[in-house]
Symmetry: C2
Subunit: 456 residues, 2 copies
């Protein structure tokens, strides 16, 4: 479905696009570190200027935490509107000593471009700029109404994005949204992510005696908060790896037979996973395959625990209090509120006499799942297949990408997650890289999607 002229334009500009990505990577736009605040603003402005060069009207909104880049082409009522989301901020590059070349000096190596942000998310984001620019130059404008939203706080968990989308809902209104911030299932397997898990994250404290006690003088009569907390946490899974929170699985949508088959067909090497984890056994629900457990089943994890004495040597104390952080990864149609209520009920029902339990919610994100057979997603798959010359897989992911459910909640739109990265791109790690070929093919896919959406 790609116009030959667009294809030729993009093919002819490969060198320029690589040079532009290098320029983009040179901004150390680290959102977590306040001394890079100026770099973030400079990076946002640079990006807005490039979007302007592609025929879009672009601006930098400095009102949220880190500047947001907003851009839009001409909006015509007779064609669909596509919102492209991306982020220009990057993870801190630490530990620096593990990089083979400086993180903000992009370096070509074996067909890859190495640098912080190359794959997450600067390379993939620039494919959309390249596609828009190609249409602008070849045809005067893109076949869809284009809108672009690029945030600078994704690596912080997008703390202000939901509010921004809500208060700019009219400006961002669209029929489709595209996000390139995920990866292929495997090298040679272009993939679209159609489901993400949600998250509920809480902090639990369990208080026992009114003060720290001498374990010799009180051991055998005083309630021990660490033991009590351990019993509660240990009881959160049964012997089959299932979570015991009341009602936890009630709203979980079953894996359909066709999805089961689709998962089975995807290359997945359990032994390689074990080797990667340095373990000889996996955990989780016994009834499901590892991929099903990761993608389509909820999971509960304790993320931190503390209480009593953790210093050197012995201290014979029964502490007054112990605490833990725990989180659940949720799948549709679980709601974080219902799971939090169930956990609260479990803790109150099972806490031993003489203890008080307190729970604080630290984070809540809803699971996200879209229909893999929707016309837009079918179009996106076809665009990926056309550009990368391989069948496009449908995959899910166990993590959360908050923007997806925010777009669903506030704009009513299901994102198309067209991942141009590779699983070994070392995202968030030293020597992050992006395959240079994917910059070109990603631009082809992005351009193809625009053409295909216009035809729906």
């Amino acid at each position: 479905m790609l116009d030959d002229a667009i294809r030729e334009f993009l093919a002819a500009r490969r060198g320029e696009h690589l040079a532009r990505l290098k320029e983009f990577i040179r901004f150390p736009s680290v959102s977590a570190q306040s001394d890079h605040q100026g770099d973030c603003l400079a990076c946002a402005r640079w990006l807005a200027e490039r979007l302007g060069g592609a025929g879009l009207t672009a601006e930098v909104d400095e009102s949220p935490g880190r500047p947001v880049v907003l851009a839009a082409g001409e909006q015509r009522p007779d064609r669909p509107t596509l919102l492209v989301y991306g982020h220009y901020d990057v993870q801190p590059p630490d530990p620096l000593e593990l990089w083979d070349s400086p993180p903000f000096e992009p370096t070509e190596r074996d067909g890859d471009l190495v640098g912080r942000g190359a794959s997450d998310d600067k390379g993939p984001l620039l494919t959309w700029l390249a596609a828009a620019e190609a249409y602008h130059n070849v045809a005067g404008e893109a076949p869809v109404n284009l809108k672009v939203l690029v945030e600078g706080e994704e690596e912080l968990g997008s703390p202000t994005l939901a509010a921004f989308i809500q208060s700019n809902a009219e400006r961002l209104r669209c029929h489709h949204a595209a996000i390139s911030d995920t990866a292929f299932h495997a090298d040679g397997v272009p993939s679209i992510t159609y489901g993400l898990r949600g998250l509920m994250y809480v902090e639990v404290t369990l208080a026992g005696p009114g003060r720290d006690l001498h374990s010799g003088l009180y051991g055998g009569v005083a309630v021990n908060p660490i033991s009590a907390l351990a019993t509660l946490l240990g009881g959160l899974h049964d012997e089959n790896g299932r979570v015991t929170i009341p009602g936890f699985y009630d709203a979980v949508e079953p894996i359909t037979p066709s999805e089961h088959v689709a998962f089975e067909r995807l290359a997945f090497d359990e032994d390689a996973l074990k080797a990667d984890l340095g373990t000889d056994a996996l955990a989780g629900e016994k009834r499901y395959t590892p991929l099903e457990r990761l993608w389509a089943r909820p999971a509960l994890d304790v993320n931190g625990i503390w209480g009593g004495y953790a210093g050197e040597g012995p201290k014979t104390v029964i502490p007054a209090i112990a605490g833990a952080k725990l989180s659940a990864r949720l799948v549709c149609s679980q709601s974080s509120d219902a799971v939090i209520a169930g956990l609260r009920e479990y803790l109150q029902a099972h806490r031993p006499p003489g203890t008080r339990v307190d729970m604080k919610v630290l984070s809540a994100e809803e699971p996200w799942l879209v229909h893999p057979g929707s016309p837009a997603l079918v179009a996106a798959r076809a665009a990926m297949a056309e550009a990368f010359e391989a069948d496009c897989a449908l995959i899910r992911c166990g993590a959360s990408v908050p923007v997806t459910s925010q777009l669903q909640a506030h704009l009513g739109v299901d994102a198309l997650m067209m991942g141009y990265g590779l699983p070994d791109d070392r995202v968030h790690s030293p020597n992050e890289k992006f395959r240079i070929e994917h910059l070109y093919r990603g631009a082809l896919a992005s351009a193809s999607l625009m053409a295909r959406l216009a035809e729906l």
Copy 2:
């Protein structure tokens, strides 16, 4: 059995003895703080000089960690030898702001002398000096062969004492040993402690994945070391409060019917204990009374736990490792080695697949129990009753006093634990105090014991 002349001598010297205790307390002999090393040595020397004044040959041995004071009177083969043990070191006085008077400026208040070390152990220790001095002045010498061992590291857990006793076994050889480092069961109830619990203290680490993992990307397949550790720790007690370590209770000597009755007769207010602990429920083995659980039953406590993220806010991590400190209070005839082996077996048997458990022993002390009907103990009870003019109770204590089992192991002698403190002496806390009357009556009891042992 107290000679009138001894009684009169001690009664006449009450003011001097109080002044001497004040002098003793003024030494900030804090063993835990190295800047008080000089104070410890000065204190030891001062004490040796006072022992010399009571007709004993005294010396300060500076070879162990903190100086040890050794003293002995004339040793005659035709009478029994009594070794008196005490310690001149004290706990740090912190938090200083909670003291109503400076900790090392002894202050009289409502019949008490307030100051760090007043009750633990300087006041009680001086009663033995007063008794020896009385005999020296009134009769030329005590009715028994006296030996004195005063250490300066008790508040550190007596780390070098066992080795010192072993290498000085001949010099310390004795028929009886007396220790005044415990308290009355209640005000008005002079008490002898005839049993102490032992201790085994270990650190357990549980390793899962080879590195910290993202809980979104791996939750549901990766073994979680915190959950695994929590399950292991939670499983260490059953629903009746019993410890599940294999063989844990095998060597526990049952509470005899007569001991059960004796415990029942002692004043013990369960509601007061709950109020003191700020709790509405006690823990422990349901089949036993609180006092039995504290004194005559073993107990297991988790003293510390750590793993994953304990900072502010959420972090979605599955950590590579988690750890805990745990300890068991042991009663006769449990051995710390057997319990440690049982715990190791339990952890290995119950650790989930994909985890590795490591255990490090940090401390091991054997339980101590002597026959409450032995002639020496009957004599000690009579001495206490005579001096304090009240029946002397037989009690046990849930904590450990390492020297007791060390004297048993290396000198083959059962200590007589004649406690002159009171339960509310605020030992180890701000405003520690010792009842001034107990300085006098303690000296009477100490002198009476010497006379009674000579008659056995």
